[in-house]
Each structure stands twice: as C-alpha cells, then as structure tokens.
Point group: C2
Chain length 467, copies 2
C-alpha cells in the first residue's frame, strides 16, 4: 500500500513540506522587516498555503468520512468510499492566508491619533517613497475592495458547504454564487461605483467613447458572478478535472497580470493586476495541494464547495481588477459546455441526475453516457439531434423503426469521448487540461492582439481595462 493511501504523511512528504514551509516563513520574516515586497510575501504565503493544505487534506480524510462527508467513486472497479467536500479545507486555508496577508499588502501609511471612539482628531500622514515599480505596497484605499473580495469568498464558502451538506436542488443552487457576489457588489456600489464602459470604435459615433451602464453594470457583474462558479461546477465529474481546469485558468490569469507588470513604463492598471496576483497566487498554492490528492486515482473529492470557491476567486479578481471581459475569454471551454448543455438544462432533452461519462468495468475506460428515450422525441427535437449527430456533435442510436432510442448526454466530456473514443479517466482529464490551455492562449491572443481592432487604444495602455 503506497503512503498516499494512508492518512499520514510519508517521511519524505513531511520533510519536503517542512522545508518548504520553513523557507517560506524565512522569506516572510524578511519581507515584513525590509522595504516591503508584498509580491514576494504573497509567493511565500502561497508556499505555506500549499504545505498546510497538503497536510490538512491528508489528516482530515478519516475525520470527514466519520462525519458523513464521503462519496463513492463510481468510475473505479470497487467503488471506493473517499472523503468529499475537501474543497472546504482548501478554501479555509486560502481565506486565512489572505487574511494574514493584509498587513503585508496594506502598509499602515496613515498614523492617526484619535480622541477615542474612532473620531480622528489629529491625523499625521506619513508619505513613503515608493520602493519599487511593480513590487510597491498597495494603495491603502483599496483595503475595502480587498476586504469585500474576501467577504464574497467567505460567503460562497459558507453557502457551498451548506450545499454540500444539505443537497440543495440545482434550480436553487445556481443562485448561490449570486448571494456570494453581494458583498462585492455592495462595496463596489458604496466605494467605487464606476459603471462606465469603453465603447468599441465602430460604435463610438453612435454612443460616444464611454457608456454609463448604470444599474445594468451591476446586472452584468452579477451575471458574471453566477456564470463562473456554476460553469466550473458543470465541467466536473471525473477525477481532477475541476481542480485542473481551475489551475489552468488561474495560471493564464497570472500570465495576463504579468503582461501588465513587465511593461517598461508603470502601467496604470498595475494595481489591479497586483491585486489579482495576491488573490491568485495562494489559490494556486491550495489548489495544487488539492490536485495531488484529487488527480486520478482520487483519494478525495472536492465537492461543490471547491467549484464555487474557485469560480468566485476568478470573479473577484476579474470584477475588482476590472478585466471581466478578459476573464470570460479564458472560460471558452466552460462557455461551450454551458451552451452545449442548454437543451438538457432546460429539459428539452431529458436530463438524468448525473451526466458524467460511464465507467466500463471490463476495459477500465470511460465511455460517453447516454440518455434513454422512453418515448421517442418529437420530430423537431429528433431533427435537431440528427443534425448534431451528422456534425459529430452528439451520438444517437435508433431502433428498427428509425426512432431515436438513446442520445449521448450533452457535455464536453462526453463529446470528447465521442470524438476520441473511450479512454482512461486520467487521459480524459489531461485532454481537458490541453483544451483549456489551448483555448486560454487563444483568448489571451484575442485580448492583447485582436482587441486593438475594435477598441480605441492599445489595450495595454490607458483606457482598455475599464470593463
């Protein structure tokens, strides 16, 4: 039995984690003493987050199973029972790290003496010389924005845990992220309130250079907040796919951030992208630790909590960092999966409780799962299905009378299996990672090269990042 299946760390693991955590603590101690390089501190915190999450997931496994937080892995020959909702562990570690990071990001640059009760009588402002270009401390007024992001993440974690525990119906649970987004939108409203968007050049003669969306900007933000977590939750069901896709998106977002930080001049959006990095680095830390345990063959399940949490991290950085359109460009596979699922989501085609690929015990491979038609579909739906079949976007099976008796479930995972044939679970997950990376690189290319065609300025210059 390998060390990974027991609930204690092997000697090698223990030492690796201790060395990692120790090195990161050393970096942290220096970064708080010195001139202040919050980005370095953030990297160190991410290392600690990785080590803590890795250990906690291992130790808490049996505790979770005892508490009834467990599930059967149906895509394994023996249907082993493994701990569920481990995303909650990730999320809690992540939140604590982001909280501990506050003093590193927000240096106390206003020393205030008060007469008590919070009314500041004497305010002494201390102006610090900016130490570096990209590694400078964060503007203090962004504290509320940072805290609102944290609040939204905590909200979604609480509601996600509730969902994992209480098994809420999907019609209700699609709205959970909307509740999670409320703190962010509220603080955006009282503290920031920018609702202008840059108008693409072709439309400028009609509506001007800027358009104030007003209330609809909030509707747009709420829609993004509902979409991202749910779309990650939708592209799920095989070992490692939830965490792996989230990691790819996070890394690509970080690449995007880096593009703003390595410009020769100090880019006006530097702060937004530092903000984004501070949220993404620890996310990569905790998610990698989870992936070690969730990759095929899984030792733990991540739970809806993780999908909501990961999606909300992206929403927070996208909205508070003002690059939600760029964010959506990294969600191309999720958007496709959502659009492709619509016929089943809205019950035009029967939707079974689970649509994940079917495990074939003899070969050990996954095959596309199907919906059986007890009564044949209406002519309209039948035609549509046959069209999909002809374009290889679904697979249908007919009986002797030419009536459709079953059709493949409309998810990107099943589609991939139709295209590529049955494959093992980890190869399917790897394929999804490859698709996510390809689509994401294409998205960034669109963002940084093609957007010039419709937007007035270089998108890495002054005006392109308001929305």
């Amino acid at each position: 039995m390998s060390a990974a299946t027991s609930n204690s760390l092997s000697r090698g693991e223990t030492w690796s984690l201790l060395v990692l955590a120790g090195a990161c603590l050393g970096v942290l101690a220096n970064s708080f003493e010195g001139e202040g390089a919050p980005l370095v501190a953030s990297i160190a915190f991410s290392g600690i987050a990785f080590a803590v999450t890795y250990g906690m997931i291992r130790w808490l496994g049996p505790v979770f199973i005892k508490a009834g937080l467990s599930g059967k892995d149906m895509a394994k020959p023996k249907h082993p029972v493994i701990p569920e909702t481990m995303g909650a562990v990730c999320a809690v570690v992540y939140l604590l790290v982001l909280i501990f990071f506050i003093p590193f990001a927000f240096y106390k640059d206003i020393v205030a003496a008060t007469s008590g009760g919070g009314n500041r009588d004497v305010v002494v402002e201390v102006h610090h010389v900016e130490a570096g270009r990209t590694l400078h401390r964060f503007p203090h007024e962004r504290l509320a924005s940072y805290l609102s992001g944290l609040l939204s993440l905590q909200c979604i974690v609480i509601l996600g845990i509730g969902d994992d525990l209480l098994d809420i119906r999907w019609r209700h649970k699609v709205l959970i992220p909307a509740f999670g987004a409320i703190p962010m939108l509220m603080v955006y409203f009282v503290d920031f309130g920018v609702t202008h968007v840059v108008v693409p050049v072709p439309l400028q003669p009609y509506v001007g250079a800027f358009l104030d969306l007003g209330f609809f900007y909030y509707v747009y933000m709420a829609a993004v907040a509902i979409f991202c977590p749910n779309s990650i939750n939708m592209l799920a069901g095989i070992n490692g796919v939830e965490v792996a896709q989230s990691l790819v998106i996070a890394v690509l977002l970080m690449v995007n951030d880096a593009l703003y930080l390595i410009t020769p001049f100090r880019h006006p959006a530097t702060d937004s992208h530092l903000f984004s990095l501070y949220f993404l680095l620890p996310f990569v830390g905790v998610s990698s630790a989870l992936l070690f345990h969730n990759w095929y063959p899984s030792k733990v399940f991540v739970g809806d909590t993780y999908c909501y949490f990961a999606g909300m991290v992206f929403v927070v950085v996208g909205i508070l960092g003002h690059f939600s359109k760029t964010l959506l460009l990294l969600f191309i596979p999720q958007i496709f999966n959502f659009l492709y699922s619509i016929p089943q989501v809205f019950n035009l085609i029967p939707c079974p409780r689970h649509r994940l690929p079917k495990f074939h015990a003899e070969s050990g491979l996954l095959k596309a799962s199907v919906t059986e038609w007890a009564i044949p579909p209406s002519p309209l739906i039948a035609t549509a299905l046959e069209l999909l079949h002809r374009f290889r976007l679904a697979r249908v099976r007919k009986n002797d009378q030419g009536q459709i008796t079953e059709s493949s479930n409309l998810t990107i995972l099943n589609l991939w299996l139709i295209w590529m044939g049955p494959m093992r679970e980890d190869r399917l997950a790897l394929s999804m990672v490859a698709v996510q990376i390809m689509c994401g690189i294409f998205g960034l290319f669109v963002r940084h090269c093609l957007a010039l065609l419709v937007f007035p300025a270089d998108n890495r210059a002054l005006f392109g990042f308001i929305l």
Copy 2:
C-alpha cells in the same frame, strides 16, 4: 399536535411574518429614498431578519435531520431527535442582512471618476449636510472596520460549522475564536492601530495619562475574542439558555449604546455606538426567531456555531466600538462560570464529557449532576471540596469512611440547582436570564457611575471610552 411541531408555518404565523416583513420592506424603501436614517433601516432589516430566520428554521428542520445534523434531547422523557446546528441558519441570515445594510450605512459621499484600473484621477467630493444628530450616515472611512467585523463573523461561522460537523476536541476548539478574530485584528492593525489606553487616576502619577500597550493591546483583544464565545459555549446545555443569555447581553449593550445617543450634545463616541447598534439590532432579530424554537421544550438545538457566533458579535462591537471593558462587565455570570469551572477544565477534579444538569424522568425535574470519584481525591482537593461544600458552593457525598465519593459538577447551572433545589428546565433557564439581567444592570451601573472614581473624566465624555 401543535402547529409548532410540524415543519410548516401555521396560517397565523405565515400572515404575521408576511405582515412584519412587508412593513419592514416598506420602511426600507422609504429610508433609502429619503434623507437617510440608517438606524431606522437597521431596525427594519432586523424585522426582516426575524421573519426570514423564523421561516427558515421551521422549513430546514427536516433537511438538517436528513443531513445528519441532529441530536437527542436527553432532558426529555422520550429523548426526541431534533435538528442541531440551527445557529448556522441564524448566522447566515444575519450576515446577509449586514451585507445588504452596507449601502444604507455608508452613503457614497465620494464620487470618483477613474481612468480605469482603479486609479482615481478626478475626485469630486460631495459634502452632505448632516441630516440628524444621532441618525446621521456613517463616516465612510469606517467601511473597512465594518467589513473586518463581518469577516470575523464569517470566519467564526465557517469554523463553527466545521466544529459542529467534525466534533473537534475542546482543547483545539477553544482556539477557534482566536482564528475568527484575526481579520478584525489585522484590519485594526493596518487601518486604525490605536493601542493607547486611559490610565486610571490613582496610577497616573506613575505612568502618565495614557499608556501605549503596543503589542499587548493585540494580545488583550485576542484574549477577549477567545473568552466571550467560549464562555457562552460553556454556559450551555439546557433548552434556551444559550440564546436567552445572548439576547440579554445584546439588549443591555443596546441600552448602553442608547445612553451615548440620547445625550443632549453630540457625544464623540456616537459613531462607535451607532456601529454597535447596527451589529446588535439584526442579532436580536435572528436570535429572537431562534429562541422561539429553542425555548423549552426545544424544537431545535443551536449548536456550537451559535455560541461562537453570538460571542463574536459581542467581541466585534466591543473591540471595534472601543468599549471592551464595558462588554466584560456584562459577562459577569459567564466569568463566574468560567472561574468556577477551572478545577474541572484543568482536570484537578475529574471532568466528565458532559456536565449539564441531570434529568430526573419521574419528576420531570433537573438535578445537579455529579462527578463520581472512583479513587478518593487527594487530601488537598478533598479539603478544598469540603470548603466549597461548607460555603454551599458545591455538594459532596461521602461514604462511611468519610471519603468523598461524588461531588457536584462545577457549573453555574448545577450550583443554582444546589441552591434552589430541583426545578423544571424552563424555570432553570428563566433563572439564568434573571441572573444575567441583574448582573448586567449592576455592570452598567459600575460602568456609568462608579468608573468616575478611578477614571479622569466623565465616562460618557471625552476620554473614557478608548479601551
């Protein structure tokens, strides 16, 4: 079967709640349109919070039982199984209400146009005339403080739910509130950082009028944060007592706040006490709804989540409102219960898993529970116990050899039963409410009348409320 035992609302309840919620919504709609009376909005929100919590607790009961969140009420003849952890429902409603309240409390008084990415190029400040004295909108710079309070509460709710689910050992769980307090302390550090305390007059010749506690001020705040939630969790175990004591403390804190708001001049601590009211009013709303279901005979249990949550609400208002000493004066029964428990907590006297009063099925009354001494106590402990017995602070039983064979468990509930004799569960809970009220009124008297003797100024005037 009365309506209250089923899981749906009776017609009378439905209509009452709808009328209440409707009226409150009406008030809210007006208060956002008009000049802005956040205190009125807060009261309206509390009404809504009551209605929502009341309904949710009723509806979610069977869902919680199905999810395994249930417990047996051992102090009833038939040991009925009822839903557990209902405090989590309270807490979630409370948090959402406090989030929705943000725009009401923090009016957008800075309209900023940005060039995107969050850097404000043009800042237009709009100065509003203050509409009322006590009902004025909240200073905008307090937003971070409000958000940090919310973060701490969310933290403790997440950890509390974890505790209720995973059954953490008490040695570990006493530290849960410390983690919950971290966001508040972090933001206090970067945003506020006042660590001066007013020195009592008799000591002023030696240390001056103010003393900067520096790091120790944070230790003090963390200690308060650990004490309050745990002490409420300690005075628990009979129907209704957790919620009832929390309600008494909340109402007395609100009385204290009112004393600052009704002064003829505008008190400098007005903001702190408005802040406190904004946190306490919805707390009273959700807790009252819970008490309806948790009072004898209980339909639901509150769970550790509620105790932590309630304690942390008090910590947040006490620390961020700068009246943590006053807060502790309202915790006299809890402080007594804690000190009285120390011998058992530190295992000088054996400590059984549960120390709650024992239910006597024939009479239906509660009696003081006891610890049995398998081996007689050491002479020192025996002497101490006999002293306690003589002063009627415990009850011991001896065998023929004069050795102690059992002693009562050292909790305030058992002590009350020793003093007053066996009584029904609700009478015991009512007694505790009476004790809490008496001690609290005494505490407020000490605060507002006796503190003048050792503090330099009228405590309701300029300097008395820094700590």
